[in-house]
C-alpha cells in the first residue's frame, strides 16, 4: 500500500470516528449547525479523496451520504432519529469498505464479491424503502431491522419533502445515473458555502491547521521500541547510581543522569498516552443501539474524557468497559415502565467517568438502575456450590456482591439467565487484572450499581519492593503490597501461631495466613522464622486474597522494568516476569495472585480479606501517623502518607536555601521545621569515614503534589479523635486527639511549592506548636 492510501485510510478512520461522535451528539442537539458541518466534512473528505485515489465504490457511497447530509445541513431534512440511524449505517458501510482497502490495498482486487454485495445491498432497497419508509418513520423500530441497508435509505424519505425523494429514487433505479446527479448537488452545496469538492483535504486542513503542523504520526512499534530503550536506560541509570554513590566526584554527573532519565522516561510515556475519549467516543453509539434494542431509555453522561492512559492499556480496557456498559444497560437500568412504577425518571442515567488518582486511572461505569439483588446473588452462589449456606449467612452485603466476580457464577447466570446481574463479570475482572488493575463493585438495590476499574498508568515500569529469599532477590510489585510487618529476632519464636500445619500471624486481631517464600520455592525448607535475625512479613492483597509472605530480608524498593519470561518459566506459575536490578543482578518478579493460588489461600480468607480492607479503608480517614520532630509530637494524616523513607543525608539537595529531595525522579520540596537537617549536616561534615548520617523523610501527598517532611522518629499509627472547642462546640482545626494527647496535625498545604522557592513553614510550625 502506498503512503497516500495509508494516509487516506488513517484520515478517513479518524473522520469517521469524529462523525460517529457527532452523530450521537446530533441526537440531543438536532439543530446544531456546527455538528452537521463536521459530519458533512468527514464524509465529504472521504468522497473527495477516494475520487482522487480511484476508489469508485467508496466514492459512490460517500456521495450518497453527502447528498443526504447536504439536505440536512440546508435544513431540508430534519435530523430525526431515523435519519441519524441511517447515517450511522452509512458510517458502518464506509467502514466496511475502508477495511477492505486496508486488507487488500486496493478496492477492485482480491475478495471483491463481498464488497460488491455490500454495496448492492446498500443500493438496492432504496426504492422499496421509499414505500416502507412512511410507516417506519415513527418509532425507532427501524434500527432493529435485519440489515443495515434498510435503515440507510428510508431515512431521508420520511422527513424529506418532495425535493429529496426523487433524487434517492433516481439513484436507486439507475445506479449509473447517481454520479451525474450528485455532482450537481455537490455544486449546490459548494455554493452554499462548503469548500470545493475537488480539494477534499482542504476543509479538514483548515479546521485543524494549528494541530496538524505541530503534530506527527508515529508508528506504535517505534514507540514500543523507544519505551524498551528507556527501560534499558532506567536500568543502567540504577546501576550507575549504585556504582557511583560512594564517589563524590561522580555524584553531580549521576544526579544529572538520573534527572534526564526520569524526564526522558516521562516524555516517552507521555508520547504513548492517549485520552480515554478514544474509547469513550465509541460508547454513545453502542449505548444508543443497545438501549433501543433492549427498549430502555438511557441518558449517557461522560466525564473526564481528557484523562490519559497508555495506548496498550487503553486497548486492553476496551472490552471490559464495553462489557460493563452492556451489563449496566441489560441488567442495571430497568425498562421505562418499571422505572416509572418505581418513581424514577423513565430515562435511566448511565455515567462513564475517568479520573486519574496518583499512578492509577479510575474508570467508573455507574447506573441508577435496579442495583443487584444481593439475595439472588447469594442463592445463586449457594446453588452453584461456590459457597456454603453457613458461610453465606456470615457474609455482609458487600462481600456477597463480590461473589459475582467468581468464574462459576457468571457462567451459571448466562446459562440459566436467572440472576439479576453478573454476565461475564469474571471476564471484566480477568481482563482488568491482566493489566495489573483492579475491579470494584458497589451496588444498592433500587438505587444503582457502580463498577470501578483501577488501571495502572503504565505497564512497562512498575515500582517494586525487592525481597530476599534463598540468597536471591525477588521483586514484589508494590501494587499488591499493603504493608510490611517487622518481627525482631526476640519475637521470632512466638510471633507465629499454628493451626496444625497452617502458619498464621495475628495482625491487628485478625489471623493472617502465612506463606513462607523460601519454603514455597524450595520444598525442603522448614517453615520457621530465623531466631538470629530480623524477619519480615509482606502483607499482600492479591485479587482480594490477603496473606502474609514471609521473606528472609528486605532491600530497597526500586522501579523495575518488566521483562517477559520464556514460556517454560512462565509455566511454573509463580513469576510474572524478570527484571534487572540496580545491583546488576537479575530478579524474578513474584506474582502474588499465583502465590496465593499455589498456597491454597482460598475463598474463606478472601472474604475476610475483603472485609478487612473495607474496614481499614474506613478507619484510614481518621488515622494519623504519629511522628516526633525535634522532641515535639506531630501527626500526619495517614491517608496522605505515601512512604516513610530512611535515607542518607547526602540525598537532600538544596535549591538556594530550600532543601529538596529527588524522589523516584521527582523533585520533592522538603519541610524541615524541626531543623533536623542542619545539625545532621554538621555531624556529616566531621569526617567520620564513609558513615553517613541517616534521616527519616515522610513522603506525603498534598493534593496533586508530593512533599517530604523531615522527622526525628516515626512513633506510631493511631486513630485520632476530633476536638471541639469548649463553649463554642466548633471543631478545632489542625489538631487531633492522639493517644490521649492533643497533637498538631501537619498542614501539608502549608509547605510552599517549589516554584516560589520561599520557605513558609510557619503554618506547619504553628500546628506543631499547639500540642506542646
Amino acid at each position: 500500500m502506498d503512503e497516500l492510501t495509508r494516509e487516506f485510510l488513517i484520515e478517513s478512520q479518524e473522520g469517521l470516528d469524529r462523525m460517529e461522535r457527532c452523530l450521537t451528539d446530533l441526537e440531543t442537539r438536532p439543530q446544531d449547525a456546527a455538528l452537521l458541518g463536521e459530519i458533512f466534512r468527514s464524509v465529504h473528505t472521504i468522497k473527495g479523496t477516494t475520487g482522487f485515489l480511484g476508489f469508485k465504490r467508496l466514492e459512490k457511497l460517500a456521495h450518497r451520504g453527502e447528498n443526504l447530509l447536504g439536505l440536512l445541513r440546508d435544513g431540508k431534512v430534519a435530523a430525526s432519529r431515523g435519519v441519524i440511524t441511517g447515517l450511522l449505517h452509512l458510517l458502518d458501510g464506509l467502514r466496511v469498505i475502508l477495511k477492505f482497502i486496508e486488507a487488500d490495498g486496493c478496492e477492485g482486487t482480491g475478495d471483491d464479491v463481498a464488497l460488491i454485495e455490500e454495496l448492492e445491498v446498500l443500493h438496492a432497497p432504496a426504492g422499496d424503502a421509499e414505500r416502507v419508509s412512511i410507516p417506519a418513520s415513527g418509532p425507532p423500530v427501524l434500527q432493529n431491522g435485519p440489515s443495515p441497508s434498510t435503515g440507510l435509505k428510508p431515512a431521508p424519505a420520511p422527513a424529506a419533502p418532495s425535493s429529496a425523494s426523487p433524487v434517492t429514487a433516481a439513484e436507486s433505479s439507475a445506479p449509473s445515473a447517481g454520479p451525474q446527479i450528485v455532482p450537481d448537488l455537490a455544486a449546490e452545496q459548494c455554493a452554499a458555502g462548503v469548500p470545493a469538492a475537488s480539494d477534499a483535504g482542504k476543509p479538514r486542513t483548515q479546521a485543524g491547521a494549528s494541530t496538524a503542523e505541530s503534530t506527527l504520526r508515529v508508528d506504535v512499534t517505534l514507540l514500543n521500541r523507544m519505551m524498551n530503550l528507556v527501560g534499558e536506560l532506567v536500568l543502567t541509570r540504577n546501576q550507575v547510581l549504585q556504582a557511583t554513590a560512594a564517589d563524590p566526584k561522580m555524584t553531580l554527573l549521576s544526579r544529572r543522569l538520573d534527572m534526564v532519565t526520569a524526564d526522558l522516561r516521562e516524555s516517552v510515556m507521555k508520547a504513548r498516552m492517549q485520552p480515554v475519549s478514544n474509547i469513550f467516543s465509541k460508547m454513545p453509539r453502542m449505548v444508543r443501539d443497545l438501549s433501543q434494542s433492549l427498549g430502555r431509555r438511557v441518558h449517557l453522561e461522560m466525564e473526564g474524557q481528557e484523562t490519559e492512559l497508555d495506548k496498550s492499556l487503553l486497548e486492553a480496557i476496551k472490552d471490559p468497559l464495553t462489557h460493563a456498559l452492556r451489563n449496566a444497560l441489560d441488567h442495571g437500568i430497568e425498562p421505562p415502565e418499571d422505572r416509572k412504577a418505581a418513581g424514577k425518571n423513565p430515562e435511566g442515567l448511565l455515567k462513564l467517568r475517568a479520573v486519574q488518582e496518583g499512578s492509577h486511572v479510575v474508570i467508573e461505569v455507574s447506573d441508577d438502575g435496579a442495583g443487584i439483588a444481593v439475595e439472588k446473588v447469594r442463592d445463586k452462589a449457594i446453588e452453584r456450590g461456590l459457597i456454603t449456606p453457613d458461610r453465606a449467612a456470615l457474609l455482609g452485603e458487600r462481600e456477597l456482591l463480590q461473589l459475582i466476580f467468581l468464574p462459576g457464577f457468571s457462567t451459571a447466570a448466562r446459562v440459566t439467565n436467572v440472576s439479576g446481574r453478573g454476565v461475564g463479570m469474571d471476564v471484566v475482572r480477568t481482563n482488568v487484572e491482566k493489566i495489573g488493575g483492579k475491579v470494584e463493585l458497589d451496588s444498592r438495590a433500587g438505587k444503582g450499581t457502580t463498577v470501578r476499574m483501577r488501571i495502572p498508568l503504565t505497564l512497562a515500569i512498575i515500582p517494586a519492593l525487592i525481597v530476599r529469599s534463598l540468597n536471591q532477590s525477588f521483586a514484589l510489585p508494590q501494587g499488591s503490597l499493603s504493608e510490611l510487618v517487622h518481627i525482631p529476632p526476640e519475637r521470632a519464636g512466638t510471633a507465629i501461631e499454628w493451626i496444625e500445619s497452617a502458619p498464621l500471624y495475628r495482625l491487628r486481631g485478625r489471623l493472617l495466613p502465612l506463606v513462607f517464600l523460601s519454603r514455597l520455592l524450595d520444598p525442603s525448607r522448614a517453615c520457621h522464622l530465623a531466631p538470629d535475625r530480623d524477619n519480615f512479613i509482606a502483607v499482600l492483597d492479591a485479587d482480594g486474597r490477603r496473606f502474609g509472605l514471609v521473606v528472609d530480608g528486605l532491600a530497597d524498593p526500586e522501579e523495575i522494568v518488566v521483562k517477559p519470561l520464556s514460556a517454560v518459566l512462565k509455566d511454573i506459575g509463580l513469576y510474572s516476569g524478570a527484571t534487572m536490578l540496580g545491583s546488576a543482578d537479575l530478579a524474578l518478579i513474584l506474582d502474588p495472585g499465583s502465590i496465593a493460588l499455589k498456597a491454597n489461600i482460598t475463598m474463606n480468607s478472601e472474604e475476610e480479606g475483603a472485609a478487612q480492607v473495607e474496614e481499614s479503608d474506613e478507619a484510614a480517614k481518621a488515622e494519623f501517623l504519629l511522628v516526633e520532630v525535634s522532641g515535639r509530637r506531630a501527626a500526619v494524616p495517614l491517608a496522605d502518607v505515601l512512604r516513610i523513607e530512611q535515607l542518607p543525608l547526602s540525598r537532600i539537595e538544596y535549591i538556594g536555601y530550600r532543601p529538596v529531595l529527588n524522589f523516584e525522579g521527582h523533585l520533592l520540596p522538603v519541610e524541615d521545621s524541626g531543623g533536623i537537617l542542619a545539625p545532621a549536616a554538621e555531624v556529616q561534615s566531621v569526617p567520620s569515614g564513609t558513615d553517613c548520617a541517616q534521616i527519616i523523610v515522610v513522603v506525603c501527598r498534598d493534593g496533586g503534589r508530593h512533599v517530604g517532611i523531615v522527622v526525628s522518629h516515626v512513633l506510631d499509627v493511631a486513630a485520632g479523635t476530633d476536638l471541639f472547642e469548649a463553649g463554642t462546640g466548633t471543631q478545632a482545626g489542625g489538631v487531633t486527639m492522639l493517644k490521649n494527647r492533643v497533637t498538631g496535625v501537619v498542614d501539608l498545604g502549608g509547605v510552599a511549592p517549589l516554584v516560589q522557592g520561599e520557605p513558609a513553614h510557619e503554618a506547619w510550625a504553628q500546628s506543631a506548636e499547639v500540642m506542646a
Binding site: G231, Q472, L521, K563, S566, A567, V568, G577, L586, L588
Partner: protein, 160 residues
C-alpha cells in the same frame, strides 16, 4: 534424521561445514555456526527456583532476559562450579542460551566424515545428539539447537 549436518550433506555433499566447538565435561561438541547468534563469556546465570532441572537459569542479554539450558544437566553431569560460557542460539521457538563449560574454536569439517548416532546410544542421549564428525584424534559430537530448545525439552518431559 533431521540433523542439519545431514541436510548439508544431502544438498552439497562436498561443501565444507563450519562448526563451533564447545566443551562440556570431557566431551567436545559441535554446534553449526549458523544457529549461533552470539557467545557470552563467563556468565553466572541467576537460578530460577522450581524451574525444570534442565533450565540453567536466567541471564541478561541485550535488554532481554534469556532462559538458558544447562548441557551438563541434560547429559547427567554434576553441576559446574564457577562461571560458564553461553552460546546464544536461535531456534524456531525463539532465542535461548546454552550453558557450556567453555567455547573452543570454529572448525571446518567435511561432510564425508559425518556419522549418525550409533544404535547402541541410550535413548536419552540419542534424543539430544545429532551424530558426530570424525576428527583426526577425537570425535566431534553434533548438537542440534532445535532439540535443545527449552520449549521442546519441556514437551519431551511431559510426554515421558
Amino acid at each position: 534424521m533431521t540433523a542439519p549436518a545431514t541436510a548439508v550433506r544431502n544438498e552439497k555433499s562436498q561443501a565444507q561445514v563450519e562448526l563451533c566447538s564447545v566443551r562440556v565435561g570431557k566431551t567436545m561438541f559441535g554446534v553449526p555456526i549458523g544457529h549461533i547468534l552470539e557467545i557470552v563469556g563467563s556468565a553466572r546465570p541467576q537460578p530460577v527456583p522450581l524451574a525444570p532441572d534442565y533450565v540453567g537459569g536466567l541471564v541478561h542479554y541485550r535488554g532481554d532476559v534469556l532462559t538458558t539450558v544447562s548441557l551438563r544437566q541434560l547429559l547427567g553431569l554434576p553441576p559446574c562450579e564457577g562461571a560458564q560460557d553461553i552460546l546464544v542460539l536461535e531456534s524456531q521457538g525463539g532465542c535461548f542460551g546454552l550453558l557450556v563449560d567453555s567455547v573452543g574454536e570454529v572448525l571446518t569439517v567435511s561432510p564425508a566424515d559425518f556419522e549418525p548416532n550409533p544404535s547402541i546410544l541410550d535413548r536419552r542421549h540419542s534424543a539430544l545428539l545429532a551424530g558426530a564428525y570424525k576428527l583426526k584424534d577425537h570425535l566431534l559430537v553434533m548438537l542440534d539447537p532445535e532439540r535443545l530448545d527449552p520449549m521442546r525439552l519441556a514437551q519431551e518431559m511431559a510426554e515421558r
